[in-house]
């Protein structure tokens, strides 16, 4: 029992640290990449190649003056960013990071928890995440913040539906399992799910952009219309939490996309490579190589998120709603219908 608790505690802390570290260095990578795209140098003063820049930014956030508006509800004002950060970090708990590892003769899985409703758990946490923005925006007692919060919530609700239906099609192709580990394991020998679900992947990707409030869907904080959107009144580390949670969300949604559609820690000819290296199942090198492969996929997705942000202009609000309800939702329903028909004729579904 004690070893179990220690092992779970180590994994929890490791995933927490990993999320924070990736989010911190995503901020630097975002600035470097935008500099590259705009033919600038980017931050290069703090440390070699600007590698200490995230630490400097974080330290600055902590030492800034903290302002809580007099007229606002103090408890809810503080609850908003905390809740947003909490839900962002919670989603990491169902993601399988690599294959099971033997440590001191016992097999351990590198995942916080493998619940049999993992996919639904993700959706549950994501749907709670919107409360952080709404409560924060409302408690600011500022019209711009309220408008930003309302935009965020309506946008997230609209895109959740298309996203959910795209995932239902994915679950049907992977044999009706809702556990993330099983979905990843099923892409072990064969090909990645994206080959069977190309349309589903595109819908999921667009919805993930909208759910994480990234450009071109960053209307909740669109500075040209709403000053700063839902975090207009926030300062110091509370603003930092809002901004930081966005990067964690981006990391986790990249991880989920890589696990759902690109095989997670599997990669082509993985088994051949392991055989050639003479590695047995449960070896720590398999875990490390698999984790490296998974992380490469995640890094590519994060870079694509940033590439899109620095390339495309922002949508208008009615365009955003049209895209969600008139194009993505019917497309995802079509995708679901095609998937069910194909699986039925392949004899995988029984009525």
């Amino acid at each position: 029992m004690l070893t179990f608790i220690i092992y779970k505690a180590i994994i929890c802390v490791a995933v927490f640290a990993l999320s924070l570290a990736v989010a911190a260095y995503s901020t630097l990578w975002e600035r470097k990449l935008s500099a590259l795209l705009q033919d600038r140098v980017g931050p290069d003063r703090a440390g070699p190649f600007g590698l200490l820049q995230p630490l400097a930014d974080g330290g600055k956030m902590f030492f800034k003056e903290e302002i809580i508006p007099n007229v606002s509800n103090k408890f809810l004002f503080i609850l908003g960013p905390s809740l947003f950060m909490l839900t962002a970090l919670m989603t990491g708990s169902v993601i399988p990071w690599c294959k099971d590892v033997y440590v001191a003769g016992k097999l351990y899985s590198v995942q916080i928890t493998d619940i049999n409703i993992g996919v639904l758990f993700l959706f549950g946490v994501v749907s709670i995440g919107v409360y952080g923005i709404m409560i924060g925006g409302w408690a600011s007692n500022n019209k711009y913040a309220l408008l930003g919060a309302i935009r965020a919530s309506s946008q997230m609700i609209s895109y959740e539906i298309a996203m959910g239906i795209a995932v239902i099609a994915l679950i049907i192709t992977s044999g009706g399992t809702l556990s993330l580990r099983e979905i990843v394991e099923q892409q072990d020998a064969g090909v990645a799910n994206v080959v069977w679900q190309p349309l589903g992947f595109i819908i999921f990707f667009v919805c993930a952009l909208a759910e994480t409030n990234r450009a071109p869907f960053d209307l909740p904080e669109c500075e040209a219309e709403l000053v700063g959107g839902y975090h207009t009144e926030y300062s110091s580390m509370k603003l930092g939490l809002f901004l930081f949670a966005e990067y964690i969300n981006m990391f986790i949604s990249s991880a989920v996309m890589a696990a759902f559609y690109f095989g997670g820690y599997n990669f082509p000819f993985a088994q051949e490579l392991y055989d050639a290296m003479g590695l047995a199942d449960g070896s720590k090198w398999i875990a490390i190589i698999g984790f490296g492969a998974y992380f490469t996929k995640i890094a590519i997705f994060i870079s694509v998120f940033m590439w899109i942000r620095w390339t495309l202009p922002r949508f208008r609000y009615d365009q955003l709603m049209n895209l969600g309800w008139r194009y993505l939702l019917p497309l995802s329903l079509l995708n679901l219908g095609i998937t069910v028909a194909v699986e039925f004729f392949r004899g995988h579904l029984h009525f």
Binding site: L76, F123, V126, S127, V130, Y131, I150, G176, L178
Partner: protein, 170 residues
């Protein structure tokens, strides 16, 4: 611990919390706070579902009620900008009528629960009773007819709301 199992402790704590948050919904002055307390109540009820071994219902309860319906509630209340100054004062007659109606509702609920046998799902059923697969099988075989009726009801509500929402009907 005091002769109770851990399940009974959890049940007691969850029940206390859900009743407490339920009362807070009614008693809090600010409608936004009411909605937030209602969200907390839904979380406690999801905990009860978990104790009854139905993980699927628990998570769907959170996704649908806490994650979608209550967000829309909050949305509307935030837009309406309710506060105590412009809230209409209700007369004593309305309050008495509301009290009697609520009391009757409670009476009916207590009466119906008193006659029914104890739900022994958590004790007797297997831990697999609430998985998606089992629920789906039961829903699409044994309870197919009520399920379809409920879906038609929802469809009617959907069409109705679109009709109300449309500016002009062609």
């Amino acid at each position: 611990m005091l002769g109770y199992t851990i399940t009974q402790w959890l049940f007691g704590i969850l029940s206390f919390l859900s009743i407490m948050f339920g009362l807070m919904v009614v008693f809090s002055r600010n409608p936004v706070n009411s909605v937030l307390y209602l969200v907390m109540t839904f979380f406690c009820i999801a905990g009860h579902y978990l104790l009854l071994n139905s993980q699927f219902l628990a998570i769907v309860h959170i996704v649908v009620y806490a994650g979608a319906i209550m967000v829309l509630f909050l949305f509307v209340i935030m837009l309406m900008d309710l506060n105590q100054d412009n809230e209409p004062q209700k007369t004593w007659l309305t309050k008495i009528i509301a009290g009697i109606a609520g009391g009757l509702m409670l009476f009916v609920l207590v009466g119906s629960l008193k006659g029914s046998e104890q739900l022994g799902i958590a004790q007797n059923g297997s831990s697999q009773i609430g998985t998606v697969k089992n629920l789906g099988k039961v829903l699409f075989s044994e309870f197919l007819f009520p399920f379809e009726i409920a879906s038609i009801l929802l469809l009617a509500a959907l069409v109705g709301s679109i009709m109300i929402g449309k500016k002009e009907i062609k």
